[in-house]
């Protein structure tokens, strides 16, 4: 990843989504090749459904995007579209058309971390800490202001305000997942990476989650979500990318219609 300025950290507007580009990315684990020749340009404000069967490489791709893993070869960049840098609000539907990939500014990994959030297979929460302590810890690490208010709002939003003082180990799977999502949204990420985020959520939780995603999309946040075909949140997707055996098999593209890919996958499921 290349960096052109740390000062960009202070110029990302509240409403600007971040772009993400993969250039000939390959990831090997010993002799096993998890990702092959992935070239993908995700524009600010897009909502990308990352689809594929188990072992297709979705999680690996998301972990590389989250800067948790380095690719074996190729390049990954988080970038800010010039329109966003100037402070223009990126509408999800118009973002793809408006942003020009070659006009984007790459952001240094250390800076990008402030604006990237990920919900993974695991909750990334400390079981022995309370819900409030977990959120407070991460709010402190992200250097947020008004931590009490933010944490209270986060707990309220995910419906766990009444259990704020309970240890996470006493929570059900669904409650943990809601708290994990609240933790990820605490610092207002502009690039949200979701790896099977609906796991464990009940009907009510799913409705809350879909609503939250819709709000984020409205706000111009870039979302990349790997999930199974039955997830209702997929209807929010503006683009669908299908991975098979570590390669991109189909991509509806930034201006394309994701529905045919989603429909094909749903009929398979």
């Amino acid at each position: 990843m290349t960096a052109n300025s740390a000062s960009l950290a202070h110029t990302v507007p509240e409403t600007a989504g971040l772009g993400l580009s993969f250039e000939r990315v390959e990831k090997r684990f010993g002799s096993f090749v998890a990702l092959r020749d992935i070239t993908l340009e995700i524009l600010p404000g897009e909502f990308v459904a990352l689809l594929g069967h188990n072992g297709a490489g979705k999680t690996t791709l998301l972990r590389i995007a989250a800067l948790l893993m380095n690719p074996s070869s190729g390049r990954v960049q988080v970038h800010l579209a010039s329109e966003a840098r100037r402070g223009g609000r990126l509408q999800p539907s118009s973002a793809a058309a408006a942003a020009q990939p070659d006009a984007d500014d790459p952001i240094a990994p250390a800076t990008a971390k402030r604006y990237v959030g990920m919900v993974g297979h695991n909750t990334l929460l400390y079981d022995e800490l309370t819900a409030e302590e977990n959120l407070t810890l991460f709010a402190q690490l992200y250097g947020l202001h008004d931590i009490r208010e933010r944490v209270a709002r986060g707990l309220e939003t995910c419906g766990l305000a009444l259990r704020a003082g309970s240890a996470v180990r006493t929570f059900s799977r669904g409650m943990r997942q809601r708290l994990a999502i609240a933790r990820t949204l605490l610092h207002g990420p502009r690039l949200l990476l979701l790896d099977e985020p609906a796991a464990g959520l009940d009907r009510q939780g799913l409705a809350w989650f879909s609503e939250t995603l819709a709000r984020l999309r409205e706000g111009g946040c870039t979302v990349v979500m790997s999930t199974h075909a039955r997830n209702e949140s997929l209807d929010l997707a503006t683009r669908a990318v299908l991975l098979t055996g570590g390669r991109i098999e189909r991509d509806s593209g930034p201006r394309g219609d994701p529905r045919p890919i989603l429909a094909a996958l749903r009929s398979e499921a």
Binding site: L67, M69, T123, Y126, D127
Partner: protein
Amino acid sequence: MSTARAAAILLTKELRLEFRTRELLNTTIIFAMVVVVLFSFAFNPTPEESRRYGPGLLWIAFLFAGSLMLHPSFAREQSNQTLDALRMAPVSTFAILLGKMLANFIFLSLAEVVLVPVFAVLYNVSLAGVIGRLILVLVLGTLGLVITGTVFSAVSAHARMRELLLPLLLLPILAPLLIAAVEATVSLLADEPVLDRTWTTFLAGFDIVFLSASWLLCDFLLEE
């Protein structure tokens, strides 16, 4: 955010987790205490033998305590992959390591605070005149133990046989530190106590070298 501020936040988290569960402290102190007590009954040493062999025994107890304590340091971040959350946060990787090192130093020091008086009573060793100098040696030795131990705990956390790997990696590296710590302690418990400057300087040098190396290599240490 500065490394010191991030390390302080993570240290608070470590202390809160440990004092809530007391998993590490209880196990470690009981285990090290058993070692010290068993040896005192097995050998029933004279004061002279205690002064000669006691320091070795004391540092073996600290080493065992450290090994028990250091292994879960990063391993317990694995259960919910909380290390991923820390690595994604906009803090330096060294802050994550430093927070763990400081926490481990506090835990091992607490174990030593309990063990040293028990050792003095059971082995009939008077520490009254050397306590200040002994604390210096203990601090330097303990720092070396936790710096290297935390680093290797991070390295072995992703390995399949991590319980076995940590002592295998750690013990050869710690051999010079333990020799220096034992020799410095022997000098302090002699008839005419003296702070051996050679071994004490070696201990300080060991700490500085390994702390600098962990600062330089921290990104690789926590990488998947």
